[in-house]
Symmetry: C2
Subunit: 360 residues, 2 copies
């Protein structure tokens, strides 16, 4: 399990000047080593610990005067709340979870980033776990995590709708990259991006286009295939679907043969990794990209522009998805009701060098 620490959660500190000698405020009872508690503050401020607790957690439930006294004392002692002690009586942990299929997959990277940064800006700590691409470990990881966090974000979950709803019944849950009925979702609308991609391809003389599919259980892969089909129909292009073994660079390499056999002159892949592997293999076989075959990836991950030619891709605003999911979740944690339908974010085509005019 991995946890991303937010940066707040303690009283502002102006580093009490190391003034003179022995005025070190005496710590608690036993071994000096431990950090100050609300009891120390209470003693120093001349109030009851419970008042300190109120002053530091709830705002405005204490007189402005004592509020200031307490804050000053806290600052002077360099006080920080003990998150564990706080979590015990309240049940709230100021923490939310995010489950991804693979921590090292750059696709999830931006999601993580987005979720952690908006979480952090609202004093929440992100707890991260990966499912190792397995639906089973995904549900166990979720279950386990749910007992430790205040809410949960599921990114491209592989488990089935019913299991997701079961989790959502326990604590607030938000899903990314998939539309689950009855559960708040943030899902990129692929139609715009795919539409742009297919029209661009058509304008460049392509007649037959192939879609390299992702994992069978991937809800998103299905949506993307649908998008490619309908856009192709609209643009009067033929569209064929080619299966991949796994959504990785290697998976892209393995699929090169099938692409060649398909007769397509342009291909859209489920994700950028597949596109990169495919392009490498094609080029290694002497196929010129984009002169002979145009390649369009999906997501615009880190490194998509490292290739030669740089990869044309349908950018999915992963960072925004993570960020909006976190916002949604945090709002729910603060009493707001989740939205009824799914929240859609736009995708857009990023034209780089791997797609272009078909040369006879």
């Amino acid at each position: 399990m991995l946890l991303v620490a937010n940066s707040d959660y303690d009283v502002a500190v102006t580093e009490a000047t190391n003034s003179g000698a022995a005025t070190v405020p005496s710590r608690r009872g036993r071994g000096d080593k431990s950090s100050p508690t609300i009891y120390d503050i209470a003693k120093l401020a001349g109030v009851n610990p419970s008042t300190v607790s109120r002053a530091l957690s709830k705002p405005g439930r204490v007189s402005a005067k004592t509020q200031k006294i307490i804050e000053d004392a806290a600052e002077q002692l360099n006080y920080r709340v003990n998150p564990f002690a706080r979590a015990l009586p309240t049940g709230r942990t100021q923490t939310f979870g995010l489950i991804v299929a693979d921590i090292t997959n750059p696709t999830f990277f931006d999601i993580i980033r987005g979720a952690e940064s908006t979480g952090s800006s609202r004093d929440y700590t992100l707890v991260l776990a990966e499912s190792a691409e397995s639906a089973d470990t995904e549900v166990t990881a979720s279950r386990r995590m749910l007992s430790t966090v205040d809410g949960l974000i599921l990114a491209s979950p592989r488990m089935d709708d019913e299991q997701i709803r079961a989790l959502a019944a326990d604590k607030p849950v938000v899903v990314i990259n998939r539309d689950v009925d009855g559960v708040p979702c943030v899902v990129p609308d692929v139609t715009k991006g795919i539409g742009q991609a297919v029209r661009s391809l058509a304008a460049n003389g392509h007649k037959q286009i192939a879609y390299v599919a992702g994992p069978a259980q991937s809800w998103m892969s299905a949506r993307r295939w649908e998008g490619v089909q309908s856009a192709s129909e609209w643009s009067k292009l033929g569209a064929v679907r080619v299966e991949s073994s796994k959504p990785t660079v290697d998976g892209g390499r393995y699929v090169a043969r099938d692409i060649l056999d398909s007769g397509a002159t342009a291909v859209i892949t489920y994700n950028d990794l597949l596109a990169i592997g495919l392009m490498q293999e094609l080029q290694a076989a002497g196929v010129r990209v984009p002169d002979q075959i145009s390649i369009v990836g999906f997501d615009d991950i880190f490194g998509a522009d490292f290739t030669t030619p740089p990869l044309t891709t349908v950018r999915s605003p992963l960072g925004e998805c993570g960020s909006r999911a976190a916002t949604l979740l945090l709002d729910m944690l603060h009493g707001n009701e989740g939205p009824s339908g799914a929240i859609h974010v736009d995708t857009e085509l990023v034209v780089r060098g791997s797609s272009g005019r078909l040369l006879a």
Copy 2:
């Protein structure tokens, strides 16, 4: 803050069969909603809660018979310890921290991965935080985190030695990618990899080689420059140092002009990002790689082989560094003394297409 969840920390569960109807074991006093505690187990097992605690935490401090009874009861109730409640009296959190400069930097990715996986295998949860490349936020983040975790790993820290030692005085600390006196360190030994790189360059006819430096505060960048210097001397090559504005792809682009002006025909960069940006810019200017200029990166990050030609690079075993740092830290947490000197791991040259024979 980000936290990577480990996968254990609960009693094995065999999913009590949904046998019949109303035999749901009654939960605690009030609202049914909460999870079972050791009190529930105690009641069900007919023993005292404290005995349950002993049976579940310490091994062998309870009779084999009651041990089994308790474990069975725990399993039946689907019991999981409450980490917060446990942390309170013990101070131990089964958690360790990792501070990196930038979560999205692929260099740290493998470190994170390595640390989290070996941590997880020993029932520890990784807490991750980033310093946003600032020494100041780095030390505050470390301080804050130190109060929440059992130990800390610092990856490529920017703060100065004294601050690191101060942290290490509080709780176990391990440093990666830097040698700090008096603190356990895991640092790649660059001499081997750089030696291989320079000899390979020399063998390919290069006479003058440039090093593109990283951030001024980077301890590692200094070591790498030293390595390049001494290896060049040994191979009778000239070596010049070129400064970069920032250790990113863009930083690499900006430095292209200086490289051309330097007269070097081969360049080794502080990291792969710089190498990739440099290569892109050079190629855009019509320079052929590696025919006219050879480029060697550092680290072998994700995407280093996406480029054309694929990047030759000195691989730094980042994953192993993270893993060994975690092992070290966890050992220290379990009473073992930290090693006296730094632990060194080897680097090695990965020859790909961006380096080769110099064509007149």
